[in-house]
Assembly symmetry: C2
Homo-oligomer: 240 residues x 2
């Protein structure tokens, strides 16, 4: 880790971050498990403690690890039992966390549309896995979700019996680290399928959430479109 600094462009602490991230990706340190102590790590990697701590600080800011004074450093894992992942800002009209049943309706292998090819950066030969879901909240339909995943990133998914209910569950099962997501909330006329799923009139306005999720290499991992009954849902915002 201590080559001639003359030819290094990427700062050492970012190289250390990359090396640590690579081990998390490899599954060397499991989600929820703890990393070696800072003392062990900086000695093993041949950098100073300050540099190692700066690298850990970056990973902490990226929400990939959690540090607890006196206890250790842990790989951040997906909280099971959460029905919505942390990249879903939609809430029920009552403001409570959405916590009903999830019906996974179809899981099919298919070819991407032009739009999906573009946002997921796929080749013509790539396949995608499509999942349709309906989420209930307080026994009423809350969301109708159309998920599109690159088959290359989720091999064997279409044939699986049990499928996780949200992005974080899927990602964790396939060892993918989701770093961020971007999207839009709009109102659109309901398609027949969305109208049926949400029990609203055909063509009535519904809220839509289009979302693209990216991994730590900034590669797209999932494209989702979700529809919500105008009256039962809103989008929660935190702005800095």
């Amino acid at each position: 880790m201590n080559e001639d600094p003359k030819f290094q462009v990427r700062p050492l602490y970012l190289q250390v971050r990359d090396a640590l991230l690579a081990r998390i990706k490899d599954g060397k340190w499991r989600p929820g498990g703890n990393l070696p102590s800072e003392i062990d790590l900086y000695q093993e990697m041949g950098v100073s403690l300050g540099t190692l701590r700066k690298a850990l600080g970056v990973l902490e800011a990226e929400q990939l690890i959690v540090r607890e004074p006196g206890r250790g450093t842990f790989v951040r894992g997906h909280q099971r039992g959460q029905t919505l992942d942390r990249f879903n800002p939609m809430r029920g009209a009552d403001g409570l966390p959405v916590g009903g049943q999830v019906k996974t309706r179809k899981v099919r292998l298919g070819s991407p549309t032009g739009g999906e090819r573009a946002v997921l950066r796929l080749d013509a030969s790539d396949k995608v896995v499509r999942i349709h879901r309906i989420r209930l909240h307080e026994r009423r339909p809350f969301a109708y979700e159309l998920v599109c995943l690159p088959e290359r990133r989720f091999p064997g998914l279409a044939a699986r019996a049990e499928i996780p209910d949200n992005l974080e569950g899927l990602a964790q099962a396939w060892g993918i680290l989701v770093a961020r997501a971007e999207g839009q909330v709009r109102a659109v006329p309901a398609s027949p399928a969305a109208a049926a799923a949400l029990s609203v009139a055909d063509g009535a306005a519904v809220l839509s959430l289009e979302r693209i999720a990216f991994d730590t290499d900034d590669q797209p991992v999932e494209a989702m479109t979700a529809y919500f009954d105008l009256r039962n849902a809103y989008c929660r915002l935190e702005m800095r």
Copy 2:
């Protein structure tokens, strides 16, 4: 700055951050102006360079300052000419930045409603300033905004001739530092005033954005409700 550490709870670098922030608030360093160099600052404050730099890092993460290698450290100022402030996620249907005329319709001093008293944490005797605005985009009405500001934080505002077009402009003019905002986007039936402003049918569904902005002491600074034509607007999201 170097008292007996036995009785210090708040870390020194956060105390330094607080001291620097106080000077920014006082207007000692103007928005856009530059701070003294790190060397001058750490010597003046009697802490080590590392501690001073950690304090600056916090202020940078809070988006209150900007550091430019080789040039210096600057107080982050509001970009004039931006019609929407950085705490407004709404965009026109074309995705372009909203950049039309802004009509400030009414500016009135009044008493807060119960809801406003609660979210702005006001006493019964406190007054509020209300501003109504209409924003145009591509010559069509884009947003109808109802702004509610504590008179105590914006003294003399109701009597001013020229009023800034958005939260950041207002805050800068009164020396307030906005740190964050939270809110919700929903669809609601248009009130008569909103319907008239947006040229939609009375009671038709419109998007609404309710937003509360907070300063660096986490005190509420503004409560806004804005309405948008469903067909012309959407909400842009970035999630981490």
